[in-house]
């Protein structure tokens, strides 16, 4: 189960809305106890409504910061602007972080964003419960 404070969920939705029509992406780090420690908005190098790719330089910066703090990459989030909050074949194929939660914010229904969490290991998608604290 993934537990995130309401403020983190709100921040992901806000980021998704700001980046419309493109997909947004970012990373949430967790401390040693598994509690959310920081949300990093990342630059989508693809700047595309259909693809995201955390800009390599931005990724290195964020990753170094997380590692220097002895945190872990807990959540990798991105938005789907016109499809449901479920990993697409592209998401599944490119998922290279088996220990992270993949969180997808769907703006399919603009008025009621949907946020769901998954793990993706060796091409297999498992939905994880998302608890908001």
């Amino acid at each position: 189960m993934l537990t995130l404070p309401q403020s983190y969920v709100d921040e992901m939705i806000a980021h998704a809305r700001e980046d419309v029509p493109n997909e947004c992406c970012g990373i949430i780090a967790a401390d040693g106890a598994g509690a959310a420690a920081k949300l990093y908005r990342a630059l989508n190098a693809e700047a595309s409504p259909y693809r995201y790719n955390v800009d390599p330089k931005d990724l290195l910066r964020i990753y170094r910061d997380i590692d220097d703090n002895d945190w872990d990459v807990m959540v990798i989030y991105h938005s789907h602007t016109h499809t449901e909050a479920y990993p697409s074949p592209t998401d599944t194929r490119l998922a290279a972080w088996p220990d992270a939660y993949y969180v997808i914010v769907s703006l399919e229904d603009d008025a009621t964003p949907v946020v769901r969490a998954f793990t993706i290991t060796d091409g297999e998608v498992t939905e994880e419960e998302l608890a908001v604290s």
Binding site: K57, T90, A96
Partner: protein, 382 residues
Amino acid sequence: MKVTVYIPTPFRQMTGNRASIEVPGETIAEVLDNLDQQFPGVHDLIYSAQHKIPAHINIYVNNQEISALNGDATALASGDQVAIIPAISGGAGDDDSSTASAAAGGALTAEQVTRYSRHIIMPQVGSAGQRKILGSKVLMVGAGGLGSPVALYLALAGVGTLGIVDFDVVDLTNLQRQILHQNDDIGRPKVDSAKETLNAYNPDVNVVTHEAPLTSDNAMEIIGQYDIVVNGADNFPARYLVNDACVFLKKPLVDGSILLFEGQATVYKPGAGCYRCLFPAPPPPGLVPSCAEAGVLGALCGLVGSIQASETLKLILGIGDSLNGRLLIVDALGMDMRLLRLRRDPNCVVCGDNPTVTELIDYDAFCGGASTGANAAAQVGA
């Protein structure tokens, strides 16, 4: 010269949980090779089956991503900081036309793992082998008796790009054996019917249709787009044309033919003999009948076609002993199989030591005229 390589947490299981490692090397490629020496398995994690660094791995030299530098040939200086971080990417996707080809370098999707599980669980295939199949490009010459079972099994196996060249339309006499086509397809171009059938079985496969006769004008261009060619041609000019083009383009050719109750199959690998080593000249016109003239047992197509499909998959996977250098002769009436040894002929006019045919010729004229040294054992049917 040594550089420091920074390993992120997803990869630290490979390095005994060490975050940074001193590795010798003049270039990124050397550093990665040396890293693999120290920690076997790193190579498989970082390189794709095609030995390329896939887009989902970012490698940095002093905070610069190497795709902005010189790729894995990027030169290093002593004390440089190298970092390897899996990319974070994905997206809803605008279409999935790239799925099969991209899968060659990346992970299999959940659906692919399930679909191909009976192949993947075999140690000779595995997920690495399945990715090779998904990344392969095979050209099927003919969508008839042999082309049907070959294309069907290759499509089911997940061959990523399957080209089909045929200019015929489906007619009623085809339906006794050509399992790509059905009653409702009569009158349709065979390539259209074939593509529809193959994609109904496996939408993963990119079926590329070439609705034209293969000729000396287009053969090099069409065959050049593929890794392996499978022969299901039904006439001698096409067989010599495909053979010669494969020799010139250095493409392996998986050959097969059928007539009456008898079939033949073999594999010609570049530099190891060709169809002309076995049959230097076509038989005189009329000596060897075609299937239309003499008939063919429909089920024989499945027998020989499955052998061709098996040989093709073995070539893609690089496993087993290929039929290269051996001609398999199947007699369905006596249900007997024989293997004949084949040797490359050093005097062969296309693949011999001093070839005299170095470009495609007029094959209708070649097969239509009187010939010497004709071999009536050659089969033409498909």
